[in-house]
Structure formats: structure tokens, C-alpha cells
């Protein structure tokens, strides 16, 4: 009895959480433009999407920014974590605390402050400002994911490599890096996901005439919703979901090996 109630409760929760997205996905295959009527299955909206130049350019912008922001933030975040190895534990947690604040901070505050900063520094709003903003808000996510790995490094292994004749650089790549790679990968995937679906910070730092997928959808919705948008949103959801599944699976499989 208790088990049955538990299952029903869980089902209701999941329905509440996923019903909106399911609706969206179903409507993206609806041949009728009406939101209330099922007109049969179609891929028309997906095909339209592919031929839409605005969407193609927004997709290109989104991916370029996400990839570049991921690369830079992963490198910067990882180097910062490795550099913090030598710090005393107390100072390390203070620094981690400071880097965590931007994650908890409201996106709108981060977005507006970045916009003001770029204006103040006379950096023209566009690709560069969005990229800088994305690198900034991604670094804490990378560090959050890499730091636990860094804390667990067995330094005797690094010393053993030195002892066997390895240079410091070679020993780092052979011993420390393999140990933290799972953290780096999940940090990078996290950063990529964050960058891909960010709207607020992008909106405040993008300037006019430069669109990413999220800002494009926002603009389209203002003009009245087209079914293509359902298709686009459904695609974004699937991509982000896939990435998140990989992020959550990656570190788990590693701990099993250990």
C-alpha cells in the first residue's frame, strides 16, 4: 500500500515537472497551427527551421560562443584549481567561497553589472562581450567540478614520477592530469550546457543585431508564436538533457572504478 502511494506521488510530481515540455514536444509535431487541435503528425516545422537563415545564424552564434566559452573557462578554471594546490586549506576555502558567489547571484544582476562594466570600458556590445560574459559565469562551474578532484590528488604519485626521472611537466601530465580529467570533462560539459541555454546574461550583454538561439526565440515570441519555435525549443531541450545526462554519469562511472 505504502509503496503504491509512493509510486503515485512520484508519478504526479514527474507529470507536473515534465507536462509543459511534453506538450511543447507534441505540438512541435502538430501539422495544425492551432494550439488546441491535433491536425496530424508532421516534420514540417523542423524542415522549415533548417531552411530559416535567422535560425541558422543564431545557432551558429550560440554554438561558437558555447564552444569558445567552454574552452577558455575550462582552461582558466582548471589552472586556477591546480594553482590552488599549494595554498593552505583555509585560504583555499575562502577563495572557493568567493568564486561560488557568482553562481548563486541572480542572473539579472550579473547581466546588468556586466553590461555596465563593458559600457564603462567602452567595449562594443556584440560577440566579444557575450563571449567574455559567458567565460566569466562559467569559470565557477568548472572550478566547482575540478576542485574535489584536485583535493584528492595523491602527491606521492607525483613525487614517484619525479623520483623515476620525470620532469615536473611530464610528471604533471602523467600523474596529476589523469586524476583530474573526469572533473575537467564534467566541468566542461556543465559550462557548455550553461552557455547554451543562457538567456538573461546574454540578453543584457549582446547589443543589437546579434542573436543567439535564446534571444531569437524571445524576439519571435514577442511577434506571436510560430510552430517552428516549438521545434527549436524541443531541440534545445533534447541537447541540454543529453549533455546533463552525460555530466551526471561521467563522474559516477569513474568512482566505481576506484
Amino acid at each position: 500500500m505504502k509503496k503504491a502511494i509512493e509510486k503515485i506521488y512520484l508519478t504526479i510530481i514527474l507529470i507536473f515537472m515534465y507536462a509543459p515540455i511534453l506538450t511543447l514536444i507534441v505540438l512541435s509535431f502538430n501539422s495544425s497551427k492551432s494550439r488546441a487541435k491535433w491536425g496530424g503528425f508532421t516534420l514540417e516545422w523542423y524542415i522549415n527551421l533548417l531552411s530559416d537563415e535567422a535560425v541558422a545564424s543564431a545557432l551558429f552564434n550560440t554554438l561558437t560562443i558555447a564552444i569558445l566559452a567552454t574552452i577558455f573557462s575550462t582552461i582558466i578554471g582548471t589552472i586556477t584549481c591546480v594553482a590552488m594546490i599549494g595554498l593552505p586549506g583555509k585560504l583555499r576555502s575562502v577563495i572557493m567561497g568567493i568564486t561560488n558567489i557568482p553562481m548563486i547571484n541572480a542572473d539579472i544582476v550579473t547581466g546588468i553589472s556586466l553590461m555596465l562594466l563593458f559600457r564603462f570600458l567602452h567595449i562594443g556590445a556584440g560577440f566579444t562581450t557575450i563571449l567574455l560574459a559567458h567565460i566569466t559565469f562559467n569559470i565557477p562551474f568548472v572550478m566547482l567540478s575540478v576542485m574535489p578532484r584536485v583535493k584528492n590528488i595523491n602527491f606521492y604519485v607525483y613525487e614517484a614520477a619525479l623520483d623515476l626521472g620525470a620532469s615536473r611537466t611530464y610528471a604533471f601530465f602523467k600523474t596529476i592530469l589523469p586524476d583530474i580529467v573526469p572533473g575537467i570533462i564534467s566541468g566542461a560539459l556543465m559550462a557548455f550546457t550553461m552557455s547554451l541555454d543562457d538567456f538573461i546574461i546574454t540578453y543584457f550583454t549582446k547589443g543589437s543585431g546579434f542573436e543567439t538561439l535564446s534571444t531569437l526565440i524571445y524576439n519571435e515570441v514577442k511577434r506571436g508564436i510560430q510552430p517552428e519555435i516549438y521545434a527549436l525549443s524541443a531541440l534545445i531541450f533534447i541537447v541540454v538533457l543529453t549533455l546533463l545526462l552525460i555530466v551526471y554519469r561521467a563522474p559516477q562511472s569513474k568512482t566505481k572504478e576506484n
Binding site: N154, V157, E159, A161, G165, T175
Partner: protein
């Protein structure tokens, strides 16, 4: 013994204002098994890490084979280390672990293959080439760590409490294994441990350390039978350490009774410490004994009985295969050769040493 291979000259090292090593000098002979023995925090591991190049001394020099290597980085030193926690490369196979040092030295593939085979045979783990470190037991991992070090043909092998994480049986097996390896390889072993039994079993030469100072060095027999101060006597095995008075040469007053001994040169009526090992105390009838007392405690220890005897205001620890029941009046007799006389600590440093006992 042969010539000096490693010489430490006036080494000092402190962390955060705390002195770990204070003006330590030590010579290590070629082809010897030297053990640095002491309680945790005595500076033995720091000494080993300075020899290995992982720590730099604040003062002093490290001489290796006639050359000053104080500032040489670990990867340029002709010695290898076996770490306490094995420190194997977990993402590499056993063969790759052992080949690590050889690959850096650009040895040929066939040479590396031969060496891996030879090393695995030496540590009795033939056929383990393709296993991963995690699938091995602690003892096996430690053998691989040793194999990985010795394929590089170091002149010296440094071992930092390598058996610390193993269970008793495995530890005893590995002690003999290490002794055999040392004989087969003919290189110098510098071994760090806090286990006195391990040190006595394996070493040619023991260096007893405490609070950053060398307390005594010498052969295991010498360290055990002729401890130079109360710390060494107490750290190496059980002992009765009693404050006494040297009446004259070859006669010492212990707790009011006059014992004959063999030591000379301490002066007349001078305060001294005497060390008597529990197995050297003979229990006889009260009339025969130099001093008499009462048995207060009796414990069966397997090989022998352990008894406490209250005599002359001191509780004597006695090991004997013959049992004396609690409450029995007994006499205590000690062979003159088994009484070890030590100077009473004079300086403040030495006083500090004896306080930690």
C-alpha cells in the same frame, strides 16, 4: 664496512618555525642496510625526503658519492624511493608502471621488456605484466613499487615505512623478502620505520632518532644491548631504567643494593642511569638475590611470563620462562655483563629528550 656513499653534513630543517632536524650529520656506507628508527615526528621521514630531493634543507649539505647534490632535483638523483602508500600509477598496467623510469631514459623496447621480466621475477610476481594496480593486494602493490624502483638500477633505494600498511603476517614475510632483495641487488637500502622489531630484523646499521637529533647509531646488537641513553633503551624493547649511583669502577649502587658491573670510567659516587633488560633479570630465592622483593603481577605472554617485582621502591619488569606466583618473595640477581650504565643527561637538550619518554 666500505666507503661512505651518502654524507649528510650539518642538516637543519624547520617548518613554520618548528625545528624538525637540528644540525644532523650522518654517514651512510656503500652496500649497507641502514634504518632510520624513531617515533613519529622524530625527523626520520624528513631526513629521507632530503636525501631523495623532495625537501631542501635550510642549512647543510647532502654529499652523494663525493658530489654535492643538495640542490639537485629528485629526477636527477641516482636513487629511487619506495613510498609508504605505494604510489603506483593507477591508470597504467603493471608493465607500464615498471617501465616508467626506463621509458624516460629512452631505453630500447627489448631492454625494457627484459627488465620488466627480471624485476617481476625478483619480487616473485611473474606474469603480472598486464594487471592493473588496483587488482593487486597491498603486499603485491608494494612489491611492484619496489620493482618499479629497482629496474632503474639506483645506487641507493630509499624506503619510507613501506610495510606500514600491511598486516602482521605479510609484514614479517616482506621483511625477509627485503633482506633477500638487498643481498641479491648489492645496493644500499635506507629504510625508515617506527617499528623497532622491523629495524632489528633487517638492518646492518640502525640510526635511532628523536626530536630531530640522532640519539645513537650502531649495529642492531649494539643498539639493543648497549643503549647510550634512556630514550634509546626505552624505545628499543622493554627495559628497566633506574636512577643509580656509580660507587666506583665496576660497582654500582641500585636502589640501595650494590651490584657488580663491568663499566669503568664514570668516576666515584656519580649519579648514573642503569638499563637492565627484563629478560636479564634473574629471579632467585631472597637469600641469593642482590636485592629482594615481592612479585606483584604475573602475565602469560606465550614464549615467556611477564612479571612485575616490587623491590627497593621500584617496579622491576621481568621476563622469564619460569613462573613465580603473585605474592612470592623473590631475590633479584643480574649478571654484571647485563647491566648497562649510562650517563645521566646533563644538557638541556638531553633533558628534553628524556622528558619525552
Amino acid at each position: 664496512m666500505s666507503k661512505d656513499l651518502i654524507t649528510l653534513e650539518h642538516i637543519s630543517k624547520s617548518y613554520d618555525g618548528q625545528m624538525i632536524l637540528d644540525d644532523l650529520s650522518l654517514s651512510i656506507y656503500e652496500n649497507s642496510f641502514v634504518t632510520l628508527l624513531g617515533p613519529s615526528g622524530c625527523g626520520k621521514t624528513t631526513t629521507l625526503r632530503i636525501i631523495g630531493g623532495f625537501e631542501k634543507p635550510d642549512q647543510g649539505r647532502v654529499i652523494f658519492d663525493g658530489k654535492d647534490i643538495t640542490d639537485l632535483s629528485p629526477n636527477k638523483r641516482q636513487l629511487n624511493t619506495v613510498f609508504q602508500k605505494y604510489a603506483l600509477f593507477t591508470h597504467m598496467t603493471i608493465a607500464d608502471n615498471i617501465a616508467f623510469g626506463l621509458k624516460i631514459k629512452n631505453k630500447s623496447d627489448s631492454y625494457i621488456k627484459d627488465k620488466i621480466k627480471y624485476a617481476l621475477k625478483l619480487v616473485n610476481l611473474e606474469g603480472f605484466e598486464n594487471r592493473m594496480p588496483e587488482s593487486l593486494s597491498g603486499g603485491q602493490q608494494q612489491r611492484i613499487a619496489i620493482a618499479r624502483a629497482i629496474v632503474n638500477e639506483p645506487k641507493v633505494l630509499l624506503l619510507d615505512e613501506p610495510l606500514g600498511a600491511l598486516d602482521l603476517k605479510m609484514r614479517q614475510d616482506m621483511q625477509y623478502e627485503l633482506k633477500r632483495l638487498k643481498e641479491e641487488l648489492g645496493i644500499t637500502f635506507i629504510y625508515v620505520t617506527h617499528d623497532q622489531e622491523e629495524a632489528l630484523t633487517m638492518s646492518d646499521h640502525i640510526v635511532v632518532m628523536n626530536q630531530g637529533y640522532i640519539q645513537q647509531e650502531g649495529s642492531p646488537e649494539k643498539i639493543y644491548n648497549e643503549p647510550e641513553n634512556a630514550f634509546v633503551a626505552d624505545f628499543i624493547g622493554d627495559s628497566n631504567i633506574i636512577r643509580a649511583t656509580m660507587v666506583r669502577d665496576e660497582l654500582v649502587d641500585i636502589l640501595g643494593a650494590k651490584f657488580a658491573c663491568v663499566d669503568t670510567g664514570f668516576g666515584e659516587n656519580k649519579p648514573v642511569d642503569v638499563v637492565i633488560r627484563p629478560e636479564d633479570v634473574e629471579l632467585v630465592s631472597p637469600e641469593e638475590g642482590t636485592i629482594s622483593g615481592v612479585v606483584t603481577d604475573l602475565t602469560f605472554k606465550g614464549v615467556h611470563y611477564e612479571m612485575d617485582v616490587q623491590a627497593g621502591g621500584y617496579e622491576w619488569l621481568v621476563h622469564s620462562t619460569k613462573m613465580s606466583e603473585v605474592g612470592k618473595e623473590v631475590g633479584i640477581k643480574v649478571d654484571p655483563y647485563n647491566i648497562q650504565i649510562m650517563n645521566v643527561p646533563a644538557s638541556e637538550d638531553e633533558e628534553a629528550i628524556s622528558e619525552t619518554i
